[in-house]
Amino acid sequence: MIPEIGNFAIMLALCLALVQSILPIAGSFRGNQRWMALARPAAYGQFIFITFAFVCLVYAFVSNDFSVAYVASNSNSTLPVYYRVSGTWGGHEGSLLLWTQMLVLWTLAVALFSRQLPQETVARVLGVMGLISVGFLCFMLFTSDPFDRLLPAAADGNDLNPLLQDFGMIVHPPLLYMGYVGFSVAFAFAIAALMGGQLDAAWARRSRPWTLVAWMFLTLGIFLGSFWAYYELGWGGWWFWDAVENASFMPWLVGTALIHSLAVTEKRGSFKNWTVLLAIMAFSLSLLGTFLVRSGVLTSVHAFATDPRRGLFILVFLTIVIGGSLLLFAWRAPKVGLGGRFSLFSRESLLLANNVLLVVAAGTVFLGTLYPLFLDALDLGKISVGPPYFEAVFVPLMIPALLLMAIGPFVRWKESKWQDVWRNLRWVGAATLLLALAAVVTLTASPMLVFGLAVAAWILLATGWQLLQRLRHAPAGTSLLLRISSLPRSYWGMLIAHAGIGVFVVGVTLVKGMETANDVRMQIGDTTSAGGYVFRFTDLKDIQGPNYTATQAVFEVTRDGKTIAIMKPEKRLFTVQNMPMTEAAIDRGFTRDLYLALGEPVNKTTWIVRVQHKPFVCWIWAGCLIIAFGGLMAALDRRYRVSRRKRQEEGSAIPSDPLPNTATARG
């Protein structure tokens, strides 16, 4: 009964989504107040019904209702309850529902926090989000209903893929989807602005905090995915340039370009068309990413042949969203003015360079990810594009972006003198070179490693120097604490995120350049060493988990005779799907991770063991978290909120960012 109610809730939500999309947008053009006023209540209603449906599906999982086909293929009665909950989004249908849940959550947030916006804008933004919701709800109802019954019911479920039975996988998809779907807000604002023909600084300022929050979630989501792959896949790699990872990385790259471009549009009024285009691209890539990962196209492009409706629907939906918004763009863009002019050496032009590099990088990832699929779909041959391609292309494109990133904050808007920047940065440059020289002398490392460290030092030093300069130029006589707190949060956000990139580069460089990995045959009592640590194989046990059996090896790790850690890697066998899994043991540290994974048994007391020493790998994760924190800080900037409060106090009589045709359209 409950699955049917859930299904019904989705249908009701679809009706509300139709109301939310059609009437308010039509009303915004006809000046019909009542129609526009429908947007908010429809959004609230949709949120309630989708949340209700989501809870129904979770309930079906928790109560082991194997008469629901989706539950039967993604859960099992022996599965611990928290994995049963996360199993809700372990497959295609549930992921779509999670996506929609995130969408209505963002819509709710927009509906709640948009009191200060003109009614037309609210109606259009919520309307566009409603349209997206209509698309997803139709997709769910017509091709991938999570509540489809399986009759007769299965005796027990097929279990959740063991790789997904992990804490990281409970959190990763919701965060990633928060990011993906968050770009729909930026998209909706852009489309709404195109509809109204008002691409101005006010539009950029309104969509900026939303875009930043979405970008922060996407950063966290990608970080968690990488973090999960690192410890769960058993290989100790943290990024594989796998199609699934690339699918989430492309919107991130374009989203990063977008938040920088939005800054230019807000501050200087330039890049308007470009910003709109980026918002459309970021959301389109988010859609593409969702479908790539969840539709089964990666497993085999011919998977669609088994259910052509899904593939067709996806293609039609993508065509409507991308084609429709680009058409609107082509129609409206020529009317948009150019905005503030800027000279060749100015912050604008550096940010333009940043944008070009990031978008080109996203393009190369796009090519490498989709070209093999494209060839395969047309039966033109089977090829694969591996990490060497991505590394050969991506790294050279990112190096200029990284070098320019440190310079950018020192360059003025509109026009800047390179002499000033040079005077500002020469000592930072000298310090960087000195550090690089020191690294050459002491580390006897490869040139690439030294170069990577130098880039990181350049970013970190310049970012720190920028902060010092800014603090020094504050009004005299104020205390340091006051100076620190008087800096805007968006400025802090930028510095923090840039520093995070520096930390990230340190981690990547050192892991790539200095990690060691050995596959060793070890018998109980044997020792092996890596990175100055000695690993002694002391014991082997059989253990029993809730839905798996495992062999656990015990290793004693010593350094200079002192015991550092006891590590217990496991080889698990998940009984329902008869699927073996490597559970690596990791001893984490500030300057290195030790990573042990069991390969396969040779005989009763001997295993092949992979022993890895990974210097500074946690700096990669720290870097990601710092970057995301920077995004959060920037989103929390006071000017996004104070202006609202001010306007509330002043009443609607004096809008602080007057829009040309707001007053007239209200009539």
Binding site: L344, R521, V602
Partner: protein, 161 residues
């Protein structure tokens, strides 16, 4: 500097970046594209020498052997029509099993042995690497032609699954 000059320089810089990116992509693409071949194609000499490629099929039952060093393994990949010996040093993936699908990436030696530096197995019990499935399908089609005239052929692996 006149505005027009500035804009020209900007456009030129943009184009130069794009050209550089295009060049990087194309050269990297050429160097790193990995083509896929079935064992039958490899034996026919279609696969390149001295360049990495991917080969997929089934791990022949009973062919997996571990060398005394414990880390190097030998096995045979078959598409049920032809067989190619493979040597690999390292830990095999969790789901590597005799009689199951596998895709390996590496180079073909002069002695006809494929030395793999990467071995990929299927992700779960039902799923075979698409490339391996493709190899089997290809071989099946070839076998069908033989079977039309010879009646036998193509059945020796039936008991494996």
């Amino acid at each position: 500097m006149k505005t027009r000059h500035k804009r020209l320089i900007l456009v030129a810089a943009g184009l130069a970046t794009l050209a550089l990116a295009a060049w990087l992509i194309l050269s990297a693409f050429q160097k790193n594209l990995v083509f896929f071949f079935t064992p039958s194609q490899v034996l026919k000499g279609e696969a390149p020498h001295g360049r990495a490629f991917r080969m997929g099929g089934l791990v022949e039952a009973g062919s997996l052997k571990r060398l005394p060093d414990g880390v190097t393994v030998n096995f045979i990949v078959t598409d049920t029509a032809q067989r190619i010996p493979v040597v690999y040093r390292g830990i095999l993936p969790d789901l590597f099993k005799e009689g199951k699908g596998v895709v390996s990436q590496g180079k073909l030696g002069q002695d006809g042995v494929f030395s793999a530096d990467e071995v990929l197995a299927k992700h779960d019990e039902n799923y075979m690497p698409p490339d391996a499935a493709y190899a089997l399908k290809k071989a099946k089609q070839a076998n069908q032609k033989v079977a039309d005239t010879l009646v036998t052929g193509g059945t020796q692996t039936k008991d494996v699954k």
